[in-house]
């Protein structure tokens, strides 16, 4: 079942599923960002939608609750004129592979075109993509601790809007890298797009053992880690990390790794501050910074819609490449 070819691409190298950033070419990521830029302009219209996916059915298949991510996917699909079906499945009802497959086959039988999948298991989106009917595209909206590729694309989209070229940038990702699908996808996206330096900052308990294979520089303190960076990405700290004994307390974490106005001064004066949300104020970031002039956190949210529109449009349509005459 593990095929050598990249599951995400069709025979001509076009995006078919969007499961992970890993293995995608830089041009594919740039195409997504460019297309998202075009979609970001639609909001000038009175009718904020385009008919690209008219007649298509997108199913939001959420095995894990996330109102925010689901909402932006739903809005993105609706702005492309697709019909949207939201299905929330509690993990208890469908934790076994068999019932998961049965459910997928049932949805296939209803002639759906795209599954947007959020699941607590790493690899769930790959598994679904391997087992769905060939006409269905799968978009990974977060699988376990593995990947959250649309989040990484909206983050790089936001960075590009503020900083332009990626080549000279220093980006620091702060916090729980080990358990973060967002961080993993961000690192792949930033490296693929040619960011000058990607840093991760956190205590050893929250960093993967084998961080070298991710292609990042590791720092254990903010003082050296934030020096001269252009972008600071704060990750959400899950409460259960405290219960798991990975950290003594939120207080102590904030003291060393929380982003305050003082610590932010270590970065470049024009550095931007990002956070995938939802924010724990006073745990990983102070309100002063989260609501301050360098914060682009709310922008990330609105950019999320344009980026998700771009990914959906690319996965459901053919992509450029084949020289086709425009019908006039």
């Amino acid at each position: 079942m593990n095929t050598l070819k990249n599951l995400q691409l069709d025979a001509t190298g076009n995006l078919r599923h969007f499961l992970t950033i890993e293995g995608l070419k830089r041009q594919t990521l740039v195409d997504i960002l460019d297309l998202a830029e075009s979609f970001a302009n639609i909001k000038a219209q009175a009718v904020k939608k385009v008919p690209l996916l008219r007649g298509k059915t997108v199913v939001n298949l959420f095995f894990e609750n996330s109102t925010r991510t689901r909402t932006t996917f739903e809005l993105a699909a609706k702005r492309l004129s697709a019909d949207v079906l939201n299905i929330n499945i509690t993990t208890s009802a469908a934790s076994k592979g068999e019932s998961l497959l049965d459910m997928l086959h049932n949805l296939e039988a209803m002639h759906c075109d795209m599954f947007v999948v959020r699941h607590a298991d790493s690899g769930a989106a790959h598994f679904i993509a391997q087992n769905v009917a060939p006409h269905i595209s799968v978009i990974n909206a977060g699988d376990g601790q593995h990947a959250h590729p649309t989040q990484a694309m909206l983050d790089t989209f936001t960075i590009r809007r503020h900083k332009g070229d990626f080549g000279d940038l220093r980006v620091a990702i702060v916090g729980d890298i080990l358990h973060s699908r967002v961080a993993r996808s961000q690192i792949h996206a930033l490296n693929t797009l040619g960011v000058g330096e990607v840093r991760v900052i956190g205590p050893k308990t929250l960093l993967p053992m084998d961080h070298r294979s991710l292609g990042v520089h590791v720092f254990h303190d903010m003082e050296s880690g934030l020096a001269g960076v252009d972008v600071v990405i704060m990750l959400r700290l899950q409460r259960e990390r405290m219960e798991g004994g990975l950290l003594p307390s939120e207080h102590e974490f904030f003291q060393r790794y929380g982003l305050t106005g003082d610590k932010l001064k270590l970065a470049k004066p024009d550095a931007i501050v990002m956070h995938p949300g939802p924010i724990n104020r006073g745990v990983e970031i102070s309100s002063e910074v989260a609501d301050g002039p360098q914060s682009v956190i709310l922008e990330q949210v609105s950019n999320g819609i344009a980026v998700r529109m771009a990914v959906m449009a690319m996965a459901l349509g053919r992509q450029p490449g084949a020289e086709t005459g425009r019908e006039t």
Binding site: G97, L101, G144, R184, M209, D210
Partner: protein
């Protein structure tokens, strides 16, 4: 009882006698009756032409799950012993993690009865070390010993409580029972499902660190030393753990160890993009570990290779990686993989075969694994030059779950004899 059999013209490879030459083999009354020349009055009822083939002792597998009782949808004693025979295996040890657990004589006897009825290979049950394998109370090891269990083990469930482990080893030592130990620190292993390293980092899956095995083994080695029990460490996966066993052996401790055949070939990298067929416990490790295991196999620190056969129904592997069940269907690839090690010059062929015959026989201490005169006539005949492809069609086992699907392997069993009886004979068009 079948009549006398004459195996003609084969190459006899028997590590127990340092034998590696062309010679005929004569079998009568379930025993080896002659090597090279027929005993007086021998009249073959059947002659097997073994020209161009290797004739060796029937293989001994120290660890294979037959799934009966409890999980007959994955395999049965009849189906999996037939697969064993197709792989040249005449003796296999079945661990006690059946349902119900082999922690009382009734289950052991039932397995022996069913295996005898199927008649494909010799099944030796391993009894539970602790009751229900729960790691709390000692199992009735004496009763298990008397009902035919050849050793005791807690299978893949480590005994968390070190005091219980010590008592269990002491009691087994009292009875002269060998203990099979799979060591792993349960807290370090946690809910891990693959090696903690490059792949666990990339895939965002919880990993099992090398130190989980190393710390588990070091605790158990110290207890073995204290209790004087005869211990066999099963399915080592790290080079570091093997070094520790080597040290213990050098100090004269009565310990042996084995490794699974797949650990000698596959690494964490084979997990690729969530390939659930590579989900095994202990997990596939690094290239460094694989090479360390290979070196220890050649050195003789590792004296046995087991299949760790775990057949599954297709659904068991159809889920996101962590939700799939670990294990590989491995009986039929055991011999070809060892032959491949010889081809790759890891160790000579007769030594490779020793790891499947004399090595495990010494662990069991039951006098099997030899073609010596008058020994039980368990024989494996294989064509060392025959290539075949591992596929759902070519595998006899119920379980088609192997990452080797699609691999071309060299070396194919043509006949298997159990106690002088042909229990397997390949009827492919080429044979």
């Amino acid at each position: 009882m079948t009549g006398p059999i004459h195996i003609r013209g084969g190459r006899l490879v028997d590590p127990s006698q340092n034998l590696d030459r062309e010679a005929d083999l004569f079998i009568r009354d379930g025993r080896i009756a002659g090597i090279g020349t027929a005993p007086s009055g021998f009249e073959a009822q059947r002659t097997i032409d073994a020209a161009g083939r290797v004739v060796c002792p029937g293989l001994i597998d120290l660890q294979s799950r037959l799934r009966e009782p409890g999980q007959e949808h994955k395999g049965t004693i009849a189906s999996e012993t037939a697969a064993a025979a197709a792989g040249g295996i005449t003796t296999l040890c079945c661990p006690p993690d059946t349902d119900p657990v082999i922690d009382n004589p009734a289950v052991a006897e039932q397995i022996l009865y069913r295996a005898g009825k199927a008649g494909n290979s010799r099944v030796l049950p391993l009894g539970a070390l602790t009751s229900r394998l729960a790691g709390e109370h000692l199992a009735e090891m004496l009763a298990l010993q008397e009902s035919g269990c050849v050793a005791v083990t807690n299978a893949s469930q480590p005994v968390h409580n070190t005091l219980v482990m010590r008592r269990a080893l002491e009691y087994a030592a009292t009875l002269g029972l060998t203990v099979f130990i799979s060591s792993e620190d349960p807290w370090l292993a946690g809910n891990g499902c693959l090696h903690e390293g490059q792949m666990s980092t990339r895939l965002g899956l919880p990993g099992i660190p090398e130190c989980a095995e190393v710390i588990g083994i070091s605790r158990d080695l110290i207890l073995v030393e204290r209790t004087g029990v005869r211990a066999h460490f099963s399915r080592l996966s790290t080079a570091r753990a093997v070094e520790m066993v080597a040290d213990a052996r050098a100090r004269g401790l009565p310990v042996t160890c084995d490794v699974t055949a797949h650990q000698l070939f596959l690494t964490e990298m084979d997990v690729g993009v969530f390939d659930s067929l590579c989900h095994v416990r202990p997990p596939l490790r690094t290239f460094r570990d694989r090479d360390g295991l290979r070196a220890a196999l050649a050195d003789g620190v590792i004296t046995a290779v087991c299949s760790d056969h775990q057949p599954h129904d297709p659904d068991a592997k159809l889920a996101p990686f962590a939700d799939t069940e670990p294990g590989i269907s491995a009986l039929e690839t055991l011999l070809p993989l060892l032959l491949r090690l010889a081809d790759e010059k890891v160790l000579p062929r007769n030594k490779a075969l020793a790891r499947l015959t004399t090595g495990p026989a010494e662990v069991l201490g039951n006098g099997l694994g030899t073609l010596a005169l008058d020994a039980t006539a368990d024989v494996c005949i294989f064509d060392p030059d025959a290539w075949w492809q591992v596929s759902e069609e070519t595998l006899v086992s119920y379980g088609k779950n192997t990452p080797l699907l699609g691999w071309e392997l060299k070396g194919r069993v043509t006949h298997t004899l159990l106690e002088g009886r042909v229990v397997f004979e390949r009827n492919d068009s080429c044979y």
